[in-house]
């Protein structure tokens, strides 16, 4: 990675920061939808903790994004007042919760990527990015430990739990490829040493994912087709429903606080 290029295009940096923030915001919101509905009390609290961790990270990423953009937008403005086309999250994180197995598989596939990404970002040439990553990676190390554990237990569990986990994996696998695709913004922040090039994370991600899935006796689906679009604002229909729920209050009562 090149050393700190201070002439880095602000648009590219803003783009990168909203991608990080939107991933944690949308997944955090999705996970929070389980609150009060989880299979057991212990799992309910654990999921709520994960959701809160992710939303806390969102405040940092989107806060910095607003600063970099320099138009006076706060993290709240970015979260609550953008339309779907301006969101930059991976399609994976907006996938519906489905059953508990689908939620867990989505979480695990994301956690494994998130952990590698944040670990690399700790060495970012941008000190603000490195600081956020250093704080977030501790939370995400725990998310990954927990989701890996559950994937193994439920994959290598009963016939029913195994079937549900395999179905969830088959369903979501084609949404993982987008994590490793690069566009101009990715290339610009990578060239400036601010973030790793997306495809450099793939080997480490695959290693973790393969080892956990094999211990869980689950089969990685064939095929390398990757759904993509989220990173440039082309989303599935699910994001609109998430935003309708998440943004309703600020849209209906602009500027309200409580």
């Amino acid at each position: 990675m090149a050393q700190g290029d201070t002439t880095i295009d602000r648009t590219a940096l803003f783009e990168f920061l909203t991608r990080m923030g939107d991933n944690s915001l949308i997944l955090g919101h999705r996970v929070s939808e389980w609150c009060g509905l989880s299979p057991v009390l212990e799992e309910d609290i654990a999921l709520a903790n994960v959701a809160l961790d992710l939303i806390g990270q969102t405040q940092l990423w989107l806060g910095l994004a607003g600063e970099v953009e320099g138009k006076g937008r706060t993290a709240d403005n970015l979260a609550y007042l953008r339309d779907a086309g301006a969101f930059r999250n991976l399609l994976l994180v907006e996938r519906p919760n489905g059953d508990f197995g689908q939620t867990l598989v989505r979480q695990f596939l994301f956690d494994a990527w998130h952990f590698e990404m944040l670990t690399a970002l700790k060495k970012s040439t941008d000190a603000r990015v490195a600081e956020i990553a250093a704080k977030a990676v501790k939370e995400v190390a725990y998310h990954l430990e927990r989701s890996s554990d559950l994937i193994i237990r439920l994959g290598d569990g009963t016939d029913e739990s195994r079937a549900r986990m395999q179905a969830a994996l088959d369903d979501q696998w084609s949404y993982t490829g987008e994590m490793f695709l690069a566009d101009d913004a990715d290339r610009a922040v990578a060239a400036a040493g601010i973030a790793p090039a997306p495809d450099t994370l793939r080997a480490a991600w695959e290693k973790v994912v393969k080892s956990v899935l094999s211990e869980a006796t689950l089969t990685i689906p064939d095929g390398s087709y990757a759904h993509k679009g989220g990173k440039r604002g082309v989303h599935t229909e699910h994001l609109g429903f998430i935003l309708a729920q998440m943004q309703f209050l600020q849209r209906a009562y602009p500027g309200t606080t409580w």
Partner: protein
């Protein structure tokens, strides 16, 4: 589902405390998950630096009906408290 999971008693050593203290119980399929669940249920507000979990079934408790024979005899034995004895002046501060 949690009806099939065993119950675990959770002990946490606080930030400054020397001993693990009983904080409550929870359900988990095994010891490792019990630790993770205990982390999420009982240490959300930075309460601890160490966690023990013990299967509740492994705890042998005194029976409430034996309260009398077990504890009452100690009531009348005030001399078992160190404050019962007068310390001679010469001994000074102990």
């Amino acid at each position: 589902m949690s009806g099939k999971w065993p119950l675990w008693e959770v002990f946490i050593r606080g930030q400054h405390g020397l001993n693990h203290r009983h904080v409550g119980s929870l359900h988990a399929p095994d010891a490792e998950m019990a630790i993770l669940n205990a982390r999420d249920v009982y240490t959300r507000r930075n309460e601890g630096v160490s966690i023990w979990v013990v299967p509740s079934a492994q705890i042998t408790a005194s029976s409430p009906s034996e309260k009398g024979p077990l504890f009452e005899p100690a009531n009348s034995k005030v001399y078992r408290h160190p404050t019962f004895f007068d310390i001679p002046e010469e001994v000074g501060h102990m």
